[in-house]
C-alpha cells in the first residue's frame, strides 16, 4: 500500500494537472474574491445586488463570498483533478501496466483516493490561510471568535466539497474515459447548484456542506453532514470494488 501511495503522490506532484488544479482552487478563488471586493468598493450596484450576503466589505462578506465560490467552483476543480487521476490510466493506456502486480488494483485505487484526500486537505487549508491573509490585507481587523469559526467552516466546506467529488472516480472507471469523468464533475456541480436552489436542503449530500457554511452552521445539522461523508465513502467503496473487478474486455 505504501508503494502505491508513494507512486500516486509522485504522479500528482509532478503533473501539470496537480499544479494547475491547486493554483486554480487557491489563487483562482482568492483572485475572484479580490475582484468582487474591488468591484464592491467601487460601488457597483449590479454586483452588490448579485452577491447578496457577500456584499458587505468586512469579514462576513468576504467569508460568504468564499463559501459561494467554493461550493460551485471548487467542486468543479476538485472533480477535474480526480477525473484525471483515474481517467488518465485509461486515456494514456497505462492501465495495462497496473495488472499483474503484487499491489492489487483495489489498493492502487485506494492509494489514488488517499493521495487525493491529502492534497484536498492541503488545498483547503491553504485556501483558508489565503482568505485570512486577504481579509487582513483589506484591513478588516483582527478576526473575532465568530470569524475564526467561519474560517473553520470554510476549511471544512472545502474538504467536504472535495469529498463529494468522489463519484467522478467511479464514473472514470466505469466509462474508462477521462472526458466522461470530467462530464460527471460538471454534472455534479450542476446538480449541487440546482438542488440547493430547488430547496433540497441539508439532506442533499451535494448541497449540505455549502448550506451549512453559508448559514453560520444553522442550515444543516451534523447528521446531514455525516450523510455527505457517507455518500463519499460509498463512492470510494464502489470505485475500489470496480478496480478490483476490472477487466479490459472492451
Amino acid at each position: 500500500m505504501n508503494a502505491a501511495i508513494r507512486v500516486e503522490a509522485q504522479k500528482l506532484v509532478r503533473s501539470p494537472v496537480g499544479v494547475i488544479g491547486s493554483l486554480a482552487l487557491v489563487a483562482g478563488t482568492l483572485a475572484l474574491l479580490g475582484g468582487i471586493t474591488a468591484a464592491l468598493a467601487s460601488g457597483n450596484p449590479e454586483l452588490t445586488a448579485k452577491v447578496g450576503v457577500a456584499a458587505t466589505l468586512d469579514w462576513d462578506g468576504l467569508l460568504a463570498g468564499a463559501a459561494q465560490i467554493t461550493s460551485a467552483g471548487a467542486l468543479l476543480g476538485f472533480g477535474v483533478v480526480l477525473s484525471w487521476m483515474f481517467g488518465r490510466e485509461f486515456a494514456d493506456g497505462t492501465i495495462t501496466g497496473l495488472f499483474a502486480l503484487p499491489v492489487s488494483r483495489a489498493r492502487i485505487a485506494l492509494a489514488k483516493l488517499a493521495v487525493y484526500a491529502v492534497w484536498a486537505v492541503a488545498v483547503s487549508v491553504l485556501l483558508t490561510v489565503g482568505i485570512l491573509a486577504l481579509g487582513l490585507t483589506l484591513n478588516y481587523g483582527a478576526p473575532s471568535a465568530e470569524t475564526w469559526a467561519a474560517l473553520g467552516r470554510q476549511t471544512v466546506l472545502t474538504i467536504l466539497t472535495a469529498a463529494v467529488a468522489a463519484p467522478v472516480a467511479w464514473v472514470a472507471t466505469l466509462t474508462r474515459s477521462l472526458l466522461a469523468a470530467v462530464g460527471g464533475a460538471i454534472a455534479l456541480a450542476i446538480v449541487a447548484q440546482v438542488g440547493a436552489l430547488a430547496g433540497a436542503g441539508g439532506w442533499m449530500p451535494l448541497a449540505a456542506p455549502a448550506l451549512w457554511a453559508m448559514s453560520n452552521g444553522t442550515a444543516a445539522n451534523p447528521m446531514q453532514l455525516a450523510l455527505t461523508v457517507a455518500f463519499s465513502a460509498a463512492f470510494v467503496g464502489l470505485t475500489c470494488a470496480s478496480w478490483a473487478r476490472l477487466q479490459l474486455n472492451r
Binding site: 495488472f99 503484487p102 474486455n249
Partner: protein, 242 residues
C-alpha cells in the same frame, strides 16, 4: 510456469480466442506468431488477468489466476501494448515507480543497473513524453524486466527498436531464459523469433493451430502455408456444416 487449459474468451461482437491449450516451462522461450487480429494480445491479456476466461483455466506458477496470491505477481514481468511509464516523469523516476509497484523497496531493484543495461543513461533524466518511440519501448522493457521476473510476457517487444536494441533485447531474453525464466513473446519478425525461441506457437483466427518448425530455411513461406491450410480447412468445415 504458465499453463492454459481449454481457455476461451469472446468479446462482444464475436472476436476472441477459443480452446487455447499450451504450457511454458522454466527456461523456455516460446514465441507466439500470427497475423494481425489473430488473438495474440488477447491470449496475453488472459495470461495476465486483464480479462478472465469464460471457459477453461489459466494458471501461473501452478495456481489458477483468480487464486494467485498478490505476492506471486512480483515474479511476473510484462509489457502489453503501452509501457508502464508516465509522461510527466523522467525515465529514472518511471523506473523507480515500476520497481516500487513490482514489490521492490527503495533500491531493491537496481534502477541504475537497469539504466545501464538498456543504454538509457543519455535520457535517464529526460521526461518520458520527450523520448523517441524506440527509447520509450526500451524504458517499457526495462520497467518490465528490472525486477528479474521468473515469468515474462512481452507483446511485440521489438516494436520501434533499432537494430542494436533488438540485439540487446535478444541477449536479455536468452540470458534470462538460461537463468530459468519462462518467456512468452509475440512477434511479427519470424527471423528474429527463430533466433531465440525454443518453440513457436502459431495462432490463427483466435485458435492455436500448432507449432511452426523453425529449423527450415524459408520461415515466411512455411508460416503462410500453415495459415492458408488452416483457413482452407476452416472454410471446408464451415461449408460442410451448412
Amino acid at each position: 510456469m504458465l499453463t492454459f487449459e481449454n481457455v476461451s474468451f469472446s468479446f462482444r461482437g464475436g472476436a476472441g480466442v477459443r480452446n487455447l491449450t499450451f504450457e511454458i516451462s522454466p527456461g523456455e522461450i516460446v514465441a507466439l506468431v500470427g497475423l494481425n487480429g489473430a488473438g495474440k494480445t488477447t491470449l496475453m491479456r488472459l495470461a495476465l488477468g486483464m480479462i478472465r476466461p469464460q471457459q477453461g483455466t489459466a494458471r501461473i506458477f501452478g495456481q489458477p489466476l483468480d487464486a494467485v496470491p498478490s505476492a506471486t505477481w512480483a515474479k511476473v514481468g510484462a509489457l502489453i501494448e503501452v509501457p508502464l511509464a508516465y509522461p510527466e516523469l523522467t525515465v529514472r523516476e518511471n523506473l523507480r515507480i515500476a520497481s516500487l509497484l513490482h514489490g521492490g523497496g527503495r533500491g531493491r531493484h537496481s534502477v541504475d543497473g537497469s539504466v545501464e543495461t538498456w543504454l538509457l543513461a543519455p535520457v535517464a533524466d529526460r521526461r518520458f513524453r520527450r523520448l523517441s518511440l524506440g527509447n520509450r519501448q526500451r524504458v517499457g522493457l526495462a520497467a518490465a524486466l528490472q525486477h528479474d521476473p521468473q515469468l515474462i510476457v512481452l507483446d511485440e517487444p521489438s516494436n520501434a527498436l533499432d537494430p542494436a536494441s533488438v540485439i540487446l533485447l535478444r541477449d536479455q531474453l536468452v540470458q534470462r531464459a538460461k537463468q530459468g525464466a519462462a518467456i512468452l513473446v509475440s512477434s511479427h519478425h519470424l527471423d528474429e523469433v527463430a533466433r531465440i525461441a525454443h518453440r513457436v506457437l502459431l495462432m490463427n483466427t483466435g485458435r492455436l493451430i500448432g507449432e511452426l518448425e523453425i529449423t527450415g530455411t524459408d520461415l515466411e513461406r512455411a508460416f503462410f502455408e500453415r495459415i492458408r491450410d488452416d483457413d482452407e480447412r476452416r472454410s471446408e468445415t464451415l461449408g460442410a456444416s451448412r
